[in-house]
Subunit: 371 residues, 2 copies
Amino acid sequence: MTFPFEIKATDGAARTGVLSTPRGEIRTPAFMPVGTAATVKALTTDQVAATGADIILGNTYHLMLRPAAERVQRLGGLHKFMGWEKPILTDSGGFQVMSLSNISKVTEEAVTFASHIDGSRHVLSPERSIAIQADLLGSDIVMQLDECVSWPAEPDRAREAMLLSARWAQRCKTAFGTRDSQALFGIQQGSTFQDQRKESADRLTEIGFDGYAIGGLAVGEGHEAMCEVLDYAPGMLPVDRPRYLMGVGKPIDIVEAVARGVDMFDCVLPTRSGRHGQAWTWEGPVNLKNAPFADDDQPLDASIACPASRDYSRAYLHHLVKSQEILGQVLLSWHNLAFFQALMAELRAAIAEGRLDAFRRDFKARQRVRV
Amino acid sequence: MTFPFEIKATDGAARTGVLSTPRGEIRTPAFMPVGTAATVKALTTDQVAATGADIILGNTYHLMLRPAAERVQRLGGLHKFMGWEKPILTDSGGFQVMSLSNISKVTEEAVTFASHIDGSRHVLSPERSIAIQADLLGSDIVMQLDECVSWPAEPDRAREAMLLSARWAQRCKTAFGTRDSQALFGIQQGSTFQDQRKESADRLTEIGFDGYAIGGLAVGEGHEAMCEVLDYAPGMLPVDRPRYLMGVGKPIDIVEAVARGVDMFDCVLPTRSGRHGQAWTWEGPVNLKNAPFADDDQPLDASIACPASRDYSRAYLHHLVKSQEILGQVLLSWHNLAFFQALMAELRAAIAEGRLDAFRRDFKARQRVRV
């Protein structure tokens, strides 16, 4: 059986609904905070949950290297280890093997790589990725291992990776088998080539997954090129299953992707920005280091029910950032996650009420860069 | 009027009671977490309050330099600025001027110094210290400006500083005047010289303060030498007013000082240790980086009602510390503050029940260094 996915309303290509898992409901469109190394950086799981996050993401690459997937299993699985009871989606490890590890070699069989931490050699095959995610970490939503080419990619190179990803998709599906309380998502590849995206979608759909991710975007192609792919890519995937745009993104990216039929997102942006003094607002990102904030007694956003957004002045946050206080990183990470969740809630409401176009226009008009 | 101080029970020289302030009751013996730059490092004020802290300490030196005391006043005072509604004690700035600033020059009139942040020149007089603490920051308990000599000190040098401190005590008292909702504490000096401690105490008592601090300890003299001074120094101070041992300390220091009649403490140790991977326990400090913790599925202390102490395994904390995750610094700082507050609660209960000697013996037997 697969996780029930109820689409409650549509507005153009956009949808809002609920993906039901044994660990709780995921309201879509959903933003998943990234908990790379078994921690959403700088925040307690209570703080993350308080922002309204229904699900977080864990990184297989990081966790297999440290503390090691077998250790997480011995300690009761990733949920227990990090103290998060709601759903967790894990990525396959493939993307980060290729972007973070010192050396990586891709063969038909597997990816071989050297750890960026200690240089130790590891092999990640489709079967091993599934075992780590599903059996050792105990993820709720497991991602297939894929090969994500960098951008720009030659068509032949992109197609080669797309086809390898499709063959690995089948091996992941076989390794995953049938499970009562875990789901497996396939990943569409094909770079910015429409025919390859279609071929990828068809191959995945034929295998059959509980959800479908759009991979290979947000790798440097830019907002416009990404939107062009999103004009057609989501529609190639089964309408009755969740669609997950991996590694995206800025609020404006999310709004545009939701309008094109995407249901799930993950990105390090809110927490990474927060650690660097940047706060996301309805008017765009602001850098709290800037001098005008030194005497600004207003909170970041009193309308957001998060202490970090509501209970501290920008002057205080400015002071913390200037003083390089950890609490500044904590509060800005927390606010940013709360802002992203507030954005998702607004998107869900706009779709449910059939006013997504108006929301999107207003949002784009307000979002500007003040720094 | 002064803050009512009700001593509810004594056990030998030790006392337990309540110091009542308009912003709330301070149960004594009390430990004050240090909120140097308007933040108890790495923690939200809610997290600090949840450990049972009745009062925190703010540093005048840091705050006068950044964000500047006048700015804090414009933003509504220190309580509002940092989001802490319970009492705040501020130090006078003197100790840190002498230990942190680039250049400092002490005259009868004031201390002149250069900021360690930007080299800017500042003058801190007794009157200015009171104005910063009482009028600009809005502290609840204001400390006199004093001169704290380093250790070891020649008797003549120590006496010179003690006498200057006594003259500054009078000037601080005059500048402070009479206030309805703020208290002023004098500071006993005299290094490790009993006659000077007595002379200092007599001069302060003659001026009359709402409370009396023991300064000039925990400056390198070591546990034994400190205990020797504490054998006589607290008893020289008025019995009906709170006694505050500044900058102390390790749990064992606190236990010994409480047994000798001290009521209040502050120290950066729990938060500083926490940021460096060290957790304080009933068995002493432990370094979470150590390999044996990698597979330790037990919490730091399930008996302490703090999420950081109770809800995460040592294996998880080990992982966070090894991975240099901010959350590791947060959770260990939080646990350490909760442990220190648990220690104070145990001390209060032991005094109230007349079993402090037994508690002290047990405590010393258990406290050992495991790292």
